[in-house]
């Protein structure tokens, strides 16, 4: 690399009065614009969630969680996440192993297809399952005859959530595993380790922080999904409403304290997700992207 201009020359330029004033001005302008923009669009909405939830006092805030429909919504959200996240984690690890460790034809197409749910509107993610399993859908009649309900029931909500959160673990792991190469795994196999042993003792320790973040993000998206779940849920109060859908119901009933109280739980979930992300980045010492 060619050496730049001399230190003395740079210092001389930097100290020219016009330049210092201009750069200080630009700096304050940029910081002000950035903070102003974020304050209006991000900080104010975050603050108003808690302000509205607590505006009638702490007692009423906690009372809103005693409502049986609210409790049912929380339980449903946890159930959905408990099914979706492990399945998508297993998928993400398998996809990352096949894509990062091997060279094969059609790999880039496979990666694009895995990313597809991120580009598709959440409403479409729900719509496709209604077309398959809804009353007038392909399997609608058969399901009805056999008394199986998928749409407007738990299985539909699980499927739609799975569709939406499908890529997150794989997307975290693929670049990480590609960057780490195959040498250590190949050494382990040559020395006689089995496939599973190699994965758990060689690969997993290297990717665990990326995996943690992928799982956490997948979980946050699964618990917070609105559009896709809204289409397949049927909004049956206390039965098929997840937390985000329950927020909508309470909000439309002008029960603002209740709506923002549930919203505050979801906001805390997002905050915890970001804290874990920062810890993971600090722990691995690398900046994502």
């Amino acid at each position: 690399m060619a050496s730049g201009p001399s230190k003395a020359l740079l210092a001389e330029i930097a100290s020219r009065p016009g330049r210092t004033i201009a750069s200080t001005l630009v700096k304050s302008l940029f910081i002000t614009v950035s903070l102003g923009f974020l304050a209006a669009l991000l900080f104010a909405p975050l603050a108003i969630v808690f302000a509205t939830a607590l505006e009638k006092g702490v007692v009423l805030y906690f009372a809103s969680f005693k409502d049986s429909d609210t409790l049912a919504a929380i339980r449903l959200t946890l159930t959905v996440a408990a099914i979706v996240v492990p399945v998508n984690t297993l998928f993400g690890v398998a996809a990352a192993w096949s894509i990062a460790k091997f060279e094969f034809r059609g790999k880039s197409i496979l990666i694009t297809l895995i990313d597809l749910p991120i580009a598709v509107s959440p409403v479409i993610s729900g719509l496709v399952y209604v077309l398959l399993f809804g009353m007038q859908g392909w399997f609608g009649l058969w399901l009805q005859e056999n008394d199986i309900s998928i749409i407007f029931a738990l299985p539909g909500i699980v499927l739609a959530t799975m569709f939406v959160t499908f890529p997150y673990v794989a997307r975290e792991l693929i670049p990480l595993m590609q960057q780490m190469g195959n040498d250590e795994e190949e050494a382990a196999i040559t020395l006689g380790a089995g496939g599973l042993m190699t994965f758990f003792h060689v690969t997993l320790p290297k990717i665990r922080w990326g995996l943690v973040y992928g799982v956490i993000l997948c979980n946050a998206r699964a618990m917070g999904e609105f559009g896709a779940v809204s289409v397949v849920s049927g909004h049956i109060r206390g039965l098929t409403t997840t937390m985000p859908l329950h927020v909508e119901i309470l909000y439309n009933e002008y029960n603002f304290v209740g709506a923002f109280a549930v919203a505050s739980l979801l906001t805390l979930l997002a905050v915890v997700t970001l804290v874990i992300k920062s810890l993971v980045e600090w722990r691995t010492g690398y900046q994502r992207h």
Binding site: R105, L116, A119, S121, F226
Partner: protein, 280 residues
């Protein structure tokens, strides 16, 4: 030149993991999406065109794509400024703000929807200060733009940040000693390096905005022909059990997603080539 289907490797598990991946991908994503295309195909051409070019549908495209384009442009401008501020300047709270940029990724869309509505309603924290100027945000198309801007912000900032870090500071210094003004340096050195990343971020923000549903429906007011986005029109058709109509609109949106996904991939390829060509 025929490449083998798979380059040999001593690592195990290729068949198992690839098989599981493609099976799961097919079952959860591809077969359901095929159902959407098939459902659309069962409509006649006339019916399809009637649904897709219905005045109400056309109005919804105008809003969905227009507001998304505007939001992505705002994100391009402000996202660049924020990325620049985070990369180039030291100020108290910088790390915290950097971490908070990802908030719209993690925050459920329904929460951002009701929170933005509360902030921008006529009696809200910000809404009450702009209402005297005759500017209404909540329940108008401006509200749609505001919601979509929040959703798309992280895409631009997170694309531009690493690109800004790659700008060679000694090139800037050299240009300055040779007498280049700050604007020239920006135009000739910084902008060309960051351009591909900015374009990628813009396209990702746009793609995300077009499909967005949760945060928009609370703030939009949802008046037919005026503040009704295309995803909402799909939901309305489903509620009326008009599966074919919903599928046709879904098909149009899916087509747009494919086109945008393709452009993102092309932009990223261009970006990589661009960086190499810039003499690294």
């Amino acid at each position: 030149m025929s490449r083998p289907i798979r380059t040999p490797s001593i690592l195990p598990g290729f068949g198992l993991t690839l098989g599981f991946t493609t099976f799961f991908l097919g079952a959860i994503v591809l077969i359901p999406l095929t159902a959407l295309v098939m459902k659309t195909a069962t409509m006649g051409w006339r019916d399809f065109l009637d649904v897709v070019f219905d005045p109400r549908a056309l109005a919804s495209y105008r809003l969905s794509f227009g507001a998304s384009l505007l939001a992505a442009t705002l994100n391009g401008v402000f996202g660049f400024i924020i990325a620049w501020t985070l990369v180039r300047y030291e100020f108290p709270g910088r790390k915290l703000i950097d971490a908070l940029i990802d908030m719209p990724f993690a925050l459920p869309t329904a929460v951002s929807g009701i929170a933005l509505t509360a902030v921008f309603a006529e009696n809200g924290w910000i809404g009450q200060h702009i209402a005297p100027f005759g500017i209404k945000v909540a329940y108008t198309w401006i509200g749609v733009v505001v919601a979509l801007t929040l959703i798309g912000l992280p895409f631009v900032v997170r694309s531009v940040q690493p690109a800004l870090l790659e700008v060679q500071r000694d090139l800037e210094d050299a240009a300055e000693t040779l007498g280049a003004g700050r604007f020239t340096i920006f135009r000739r050195i910084i902008f060309p390096t960051v351009m591909p990343a900015l374009a990628t971020g813009f396209t990702m923000a746009f793609a995300r905005a077009v499909g967005e549903y949760g945060s928009v429906i609370f703030i939009a007011g949802n008046l037919p022909m005026k503040t009704e986005i295309t995803p909402l029109l799909i939901v309305i058709k489903l509620e009326q059990f008009d599966y074919a109509g919903a599928a046709a609109l879904g098909f149009v949106m899916l087509l747009m997603s494919f086109i945008m996904l393709l452009s993102i991939n092309l932009l990223q390829t261009w970006g990589r080539r661009h960086v190499v060509a810039a003499g690294r």
